[in-house]
Amino acid sequence: MNIFTHILTGPITPDAHAAVLAAHAPHIASLQNDGSVGALLRFDGIVRRAEPSTADPSAHHDLLALDYQTYDPMAQRELDALAHRVATRYALYSLIALHSRGRVHVGEVSFVLQVAAPHRAEALAAMTDFIDDLKRDVPIWKHPVWAK
């Protein structure tokens, strides 16, 4: 089982993303080539412009960015523990999760999750469970920075 999690400062740029994926690509490629992997999924979480207002959830305002606050090192530990729980629960071959801390502007990526599994159903369920549990168990908070 190949598991990698990391919290990095600022947005997950294409270069940072590519560097992490490249480091794990040989392992995933070998599983793919030997016929083990049946599903490879990647989710990119991107900061949207329109967010519900904290004062009035029925209203939407334009965002400039989100500021992600992490409780370190607990956030990294919980992210890693979550990755192991989900990978074990769904018998994944690989799970890679990246999350931002600090400011991430609209249009930038703040979260990446990639899973490799024998079958589509396990891969999809793992994605959903991971994101649901992330929002419950990993001490990361986001604070909106509104556009003027």
């Binding site: 992600y68 409780y71 999350h99 929002k135 990361i140 908070w141």
Partner: protein, 91 residues
Amino acid sequence: MTIDVLIFGAASRAAGTDRVPVTVGDSPTTEHIAAALAEQHPALRFAVFAAHSPNSAPHAARLAVNHAFAPPGTIVHAHDEVALITLVSGG
């Protein structure tokens, strides 16, 4: 004894600080600290009562002690790092 509790997110903004002191008796449990937080810092009541863990008693705050979620009944010592983990919102 007095214990500083770290706070984050909306709790931190409501209190205008990133840590608050709570005065508790000797050998307090996390439940004692949660109750003291709500009583001594009314601005944090919303966070204490919203932060309950599904594995703990209703309305018990979800506290971390030394960077790990504390099971119910955990006794806190003077030099432990205690944090109030309110509803998180990563992703």
